[in-house]
Symmetry: C2
Subunit: 303 residues, 2 copies
């Protein structure tokens, strides 16, 4: 006889949601979910973080260890950096085997890459119902201090079901995404990672390299920084993202990032060629067409 | 006997300022200057542009030709694209030789590169007092519709005096920059162009190439655009600049731009190498150090 899996039968409003990691993403999720679910439990290593999350109303209760928080969860959300998520999935496998977790607990995450995480999720015992997740929003500043209930409003919230993920689990996490104002979107992990490399990971590297190249000049002539206007700040804004977090993301999406970096470098080489043997007509046309395309695509897809 | 050069003796408040080009930069200058100078004269080819500039209060009077506007000017500001500025300097040389211009008229410009423009200015007759100019501000949107009196407030306003430029001319244009709320800053043209390549022209190319590389993916999978969040918009914002204007700028600063593009490509190649043979420690450190440096420099130099 197959034991009844209780979580899937519960509506979101009756679920206890545990959030591991109370930074910008986890803290904002707690703020947005509280009152819409049975309870929000937070997990953070530092006692001060748990205290702060309680104080700002992001959680109903908090614990220092994943085992404690996960034990009470109907839905468990890993809102930690990608390398920590991968380690926590391993730990959850052991906790499930030890019977610490509720049977049928739904596990999702908010990591910026999905291939490695979904592969790790696939190795979990059957008593865990996993679905990869990635809400496409954020800020450069990180931490609970900048968490806000509206962070997810209007953002695409990618869900990556595994072959074993039940339709009820997908529906439950879609309702969680909708509850925080996000737009759920099912996507294959490889497709997610390929697209994320193009619109997030490599733009980050472009911002970083643009800043580093300007630094080469700014080191010998600091006036460069004084002349840097809003365009420079905007182009290099993503270079203000947390370095360890981004290293994690890039390394867990290496193949897609390297492939997209090749495309970026090819376009830069082409632009350099149009300047080296000056081709004003072709250059002007390329620049104008690109401007129009950017305007068209970004208008069409809102934001 | 040397004829008295009248303009230099006048304070800014007594000067007639002619602005050739009534787009974002010229229109904003007119809006900011009116009431602080004797008269503001606008020059634009299209009669509707002159009418609109009169209607929004950016100019006191307008003409269709440079010759008409320049004839009445104590100070003449070329606020046209770089290639047009270069052509207009040639035309002003002929007008000066024909005695159309006031003797001692002060000529400046708002072009984004200074080497080629200052070289052209150096060939003008002695009856013209030239000084290169570049206020470091702007928007991606262009045209008189988006002009605003506060555009220059707080912006560095680079002045490039030529060897022949008198101290009185520099002082007069500094007072013009200050009158619109900008911070005048004397700079050698080559140094300006070197710095502008690093903090403006190559960041533009990085934004453009980032968008083009994302387009390669978006063409086969348009979902990319739907997932593009604020970080992508920010990184590629400069790619929304006017294409012909940017082609002009890049071509008139080719050497410095190509040198800086090499630096950008070297940093991207280094980042690719850290991902190809994964070096998590080195990568994380580089990303974190760069984030801290960006924060330090941009904080230190305000904005």
């Amino acid at each position: 006889m197959i034991e009844t899996v209780h979580s899937f039968e519960k509506p979101l409003a009756d679920c206890t949601v545990a959030i591991a990691g109370l930074g910008l993403m986890g803290g904002s999720l707690g703020l947005a979910l509280r009152g819409q679910v049975q309870r929000v439990i937070g997990v953070a290593r530092r006692a001060e973080t748990v205290q702060q999350a309680l104080a700002i109303g992001a959680i109903d209760a908090g614990y220092a260890t994943l085992a404690q928080g996960a034990a009470e969860a109907d839905i468990l959300v890993l809102a930690t950096p990608v390398s920590v998520i991968l380690a926590q999935i391993g730990e959850l496998g052991r906790l499930a085997a030890q019977g610490v977790l509720r049977r049928g607990v739904v596990l999702t995450d908010m990591g910026s890459t999905k291939g490695a995480i979904c592969d790790a999720m696939a190795a979990l015992p059957d008593s865990v119902q996993p679905v990869g997740g990635h809400p496409m929003c954020g800020k450069e500043s990180s931490g609970l201090d900048v968490a806000e209930a509206d962070l997810y409003r209007g953002a695409p919230f990618v869900l990556c079901p595994l072959p074993r993920t039940t339709p009820q689990t997908v529906a439950l996490i879609k309702s969680l995404a909708a509850a925080v104002g996000a737009c759920p979107l099912e996507l294959d992990p490889a497709r997610h990672d390929h697209l994320a490399a193009a619109i997030s990971h490599v733009p980050y590297l472009a911002a970083l390299a643009t800043f580093l190249a300007a630094s080469d000049v700014g080191e010998s002539d600091p006036l460069a920084w004084r002349l840097a206007a809003s365009g420079f700040r905007s182009t290099t804004r993503l270079a203000g993202s947390d370095g360890q977090m981004m290293a994690d993301i890039l390394l867990s999406n290496r193949a897609a990032v390297l492939e997209q970096l090749d495309r970026l470098q090819a376009h830069l080489a082409h632009l350099a060629a149009l300047l080296t043997a000056p081709d004003a007509a072709h250059l002007g046309q390329l620049l104008s067409v690109t401007r129009a395309a950017r305007s068209q695509f970004l208008d069409q897809y809102g934001g």
